[in-house]
């Protein structure tokens, strides 16, 4: 049950780790560069979108994605 609850937020571990690293890394950089009032918010959004794009592209190119698809179609994988 606890594992399932954890799974609500973390499915692909790399996605969760990169998001957390981006959020807290940007906060650290924003404090140093004093960009809080102007560009920090749009940069936060662009970073999250970039992370999403990278993860989707990487997942779509993984062989396991093709294996899962063939399994679902009922075809035996070689």
């Amino acid at each position: 049950m606890v594992r399932k609850m954890f799974g609500l937020f973390v499915d692909d571990g790399s996605l969760a780790v990169i998001i957390l690293a981006w959020v807290f890394g940007l906060n650290f950089i924003a404090q140093i560069l004093f960009i809080r009032q102007t560009w920090a918010a749009p940069v936060l959004f662009l970073g999250c979108v970039t992370i999403l794009i990278e993860n989707v592209l990487r997942t779509s190119r993984q062989p396991v994605a093709a294996v899962e698809k063939t399994k679902a179609a009922g075809v035996k994988a070689r």
Partner: protein, 259 residues
């Protein structure tokens, strides 16, 4: 009236759509349990699950008011981003055909097969397996509903509209479930998860920014911009990651092998 709707509209919509998906998933399990093991035990498990959720919300809900607002915004925002982008990522991959669509009929068939393997139901006694299965499904899916309602409603004082959205979704699913007594397999689940993933991700990014003290152009209205941004990117990604037909790949690879 228009200004009020632009404020509460995204919250109500996100809560309604997100809760709709969870209620449908819970209904699939409860219907499977009721069909195979008997409705009495299925409904007992469901009722106990709802009661457990009510107790959790009553006990832990007021604790939210004790948390400093910036911490609440940041924590809720991060959880929303993790939750929303997880759903959005999977919805994009499913829409592109990279991973198979979730099929409630298959889930129903799998659950009924599993429940039959656990032995015959005891019509005159408490069916512990049935009660436990229904209870777990209701609590787990219900926790997701509670999270969605609190996450999209608590930080912006929108708990009432968010709860109303979730309640409307619950009533709709229960009515359809009672009428059909089978899984709602025609619900476009991936489309719903796609929409909810976009909304939840937009809310999450907004609240993370607020929690970190960033300034959003247009304040609350920037949620609309974030929503459209995620939507545009996701719609572009779907055809971009769609697998090529195998014939095209085979003919592309063969000339290289000859070299």
């Amino acid at each position: 009236m228009l200004i009020e709707w632009t404020h509460i509209g995204p919250t109500v919509t996100a809560a309604f759509l997100g809760s709709l998906v969870e209620f449908v998933e819970a209904l699939t399990i409860v219907v499977a349990v009721g069909t195979v093991r008997g409705w009495r035990s299925a409904l007992i498990g469901t009722a106990v699950g709802v009661l457990a959720l009510a107790v959790m919300v009553t006990v832990f809900g007021p604790a939210l008011a004790l948390i400093p607002i910036t911490w609440l915004q940041l924590t809720v925002g991060v959880l929303l981003v993790l939750f929303g982008m997880r759903w959005l990522r999977k919805a994009v991959l499913r829409a592109a055909g990279v991973i198979p669509l979730r099929d409630e009929s298959q889930t129903f068939a799998r659950e009924t097969a599993s429940l039959r393997l656990d032995g015959a139901a005891h019509n005159h006694q408490w069916d512990a397996i049935a009660i436990a299965t229904a209870f777990k499904a209701v609590v787990l899916e219900g926790l997701e509903v509670v999270f969605i309602v609190i996450a999209v409603g608590a930080v912006g004082n929108m708990l009432v509209p968010a709860s109303a959205g979730a309640l409307a979704a619950g009533i709709l699913v229960v009515l359809f479930g009672l009428a059909l007594r089978r899984p709602l397999s025609r619900v476009p689940e991936n489309t719903l998860k796609f929409a909810v993933g976009i909304l939840i991700s937009a809310f999450g990014v907004f609240w993370v920014g607020e929690g970190l003290g960033f300034h959003w152009p247009g304040s609350d209205m920037s949620i609309f911009g974030l929503t459209f941004g995620f939507l545009a990117i996701s719609l572009i990604m779907i055809p971009a990651v769609r697998p090529w037909p195998s014939e095209v790949l085979a003919s592309a690879v063969q000339p290289q092998k000859q070299l």
